[in-house]
């Protein structure tokens, strides 16, 4: 049976939702921007009117306002965007049981078996479009094709509130003439590399020798070849089915630049606690740590190392991250943003090969302490118990917003007595 897959993309998602929530904004150039005070003052999304002024996603708010003085900046409301994403999934679920989200605003939906022909699929796509307008007040671009890669490409080609279809009969005329960079999985750097070999269009890539592509780009080269020839056979995940977790990370852009190792340690400790909490929820342990450092010149570097023991302890993850930082970072510039990622994840019940060089009793004690801390936080709130060094931390957004919890209030009452 021929596969029919659609890819649906909510147009200017965050900005459209903001306009839908506040009809007074309709017709005005609107952008969703982060908080300047937290140094997140960049454009996260913009609507069509703002796009006309040349406002770009990721640019600094003052640059955007210079291009468009009347630009209305609204703060992000992620909980509401999540709600809209959930409601959108409910709409797709009326058409197929195979729905695979890609972020909050994009989704693949496998209509194989639900639509017998492309004509039927088009009718379904039109219905989805109109339901989005009526029920959520936002528009979507929908691409229809016979595999996920081409469906995604089609939704990029479709205009606002439009449907674009590519079938096995016409993909050569419609897709092979497009630049390679328009295909999913080919980034800016790969596109430049391909250009150096005179591969400019998807058609050029499809006509290349697959073995040669593999020798130059490795496994990715083969994927690119398959994708360009419409041979991608990856399936759309079932609704509610999530891919296996490969890594768990957290990052933060600090309110002010970090200037010494002590400050960096505190940020790593704070981030590692969030990572450890997620590891516990996923019942996983990590045998590696990856850090990412962004300096005040906006240069990002990434390093990774193995941990001595597979762990989900925040302290051990932070220690590994910090020693990696100390080893690799030369303090030529102050640090603007940091992230910690637990990698090489395995199930927490995986048997552990002990050795003579690590103190496993200390590790077990540490894990017990941290489990108790997590339990206290679950019962009495996130700020119920904190590392002393984080009590007065004011460079991490959110870290100094100490709302007293019932536990802290009881504790203070006890102190007064």
């Amino acid at each position: 049976m021929e596969r029919i897959i659609i890819h649906s993309d909510m147009n200017s998602c965050y900005a459209s939702i903001e306009c839908s929530l506040n009809p007074e904004l309709c017709g005005k150039p609107v952008a969703v921007g982060g908080r300047k005070e937290d140094r997140h003052g960049i454009i996260l999304a913009k609507n069509e009117e703002a796009k006309r002024y040349g406002v770009k996603t990721g640019e600094v708010i003052w640059q955007a306002q210079r291009k468009c003085p009347d630009l209305v900046i609204v703060p992000p409301h992620f909980d509401i965007y999540m709600k809209y994403s959930r409601l959108a999934s409910q709409i797709y679920a009326d058409y197929s049981d195979r729905i695979e989200p890609m972020g909050l605003d994009e989704v693949w939906c496998d209509l194989t078996g639900y639509a017998k022909t492309y004509k039927e699929a088009n009718a379904m796509a039109d219905e989805i479009r109109s339901r989005f307008k009526d029920e959520l007040g936002i528009t979507v671009s929908i691409g229809i094709s016979f595999n996920k890669i081409f469906a995604k490409l089609c939704s990029d080609l479709a205009g606002r509130d439009e449907v674009y279809t590519v079938t096995p009969d016409n993909f050569k005329e419609k897709i092979w003439t497009l630049p390679v960079s328009s295909m999913m999985g080919i980034g800016r750097k790969t596109a430049v590399q391909l250009k150096n070999y005179c591969i400019n269009t998807i058609g050029d890539l499809a006509a290349s020798d697959s073995e040669w592509l593999r020798s130059v780009f490795g496994v990715c080269g083969l994927d690119m070849y398959r994708n360009a020839n419409g041979l991608d056979m990856s399936s759309v995940a079932k609704y509610g089915e999530y891919p296996e977790v490969k890594s768990i990370g957290h990052g933060v852009t600090c309110k002010e630049d970090l200037t010494d190792n002590d400050q960096v340690w505190r940020v790593f400790l704070s981030l590692s606690q969030l990572v450890a909490k997620k590891l516990k929820a996923e019942k996983m342990i990590a045998s590696g740590v990856q850090i990412s450092i962004r300096d005040n010149q906006l240069v990002t570097k990434q390093f990774q190392c193995e941990t001595p023991i597979s762990t989900r302890s925040a302290f051990e993850i932070a220690t590994a991250a910090f020693s990696l930082f100390e080893k690799q970072y030369t303090w030529r510039n102050n640090v603007r943003a940091l992230s910690v990622r637990a990698i090489n994840l395995e199930d927490e019940d995986t048997p552990l090969q002990l050795d003579l060089y690590n103190d496993y009793r200390k590790h077990d004690r540490q894990m017990k302490i941290e489990d108790t801390v997590l339990d206290l936080r679950r019962r009495f709130g996130e700020n119920a118990i904190k590392n002393c060094c984080l009590m007065l931390e004011d460079k991490i957004p959110g870290e100094s917003d100490n709302k007293p919890t019932p536990f802290m209030r009881d504790f203070r009452k006890g102190e007064k007595k």
Binding site: S20, Y84, L87, D134, L136, G137
Partner: protein
């Protein structure tokens, strides 16, 4: 004229399957309106005041109007 969201108190009847049927609206706690018929129930965006909610098309006397329910709170669009 600019419409605004006015949250209202509602008396609801819930059937065996858990469906809600609004029966009476208290508008700004002063005026009471009995709903004669629920004509339609669907998710829809509140075009005049913004946002999305379950929209109940209801008939009150000879007038047809919309009543919205969003996460347990009920509202009407009024000027």
């Amino acid at each position: 004229m600019q419409k605004r969201k006015i949250f209202v108190e509602v008396i609801i009847r819930v059937d065996e399957e858990g469906n809600n049927y609004p029966e009476c609206i208290f508008f700004e706690r002063e005026r009471k309106y009995f709903i004669d018929k629920v004509i339609d129930v669907r998710r829809a965006c509140a075009t005049k005041t913004g946002g999305t909610a379950m929209r109940y098309t209801v008939r009150i006397g000879s007038k047809t109007t919309y009543l919205f329910e969003d996460e347990g709170k009920w509202f009407v669009e009024a000027s």
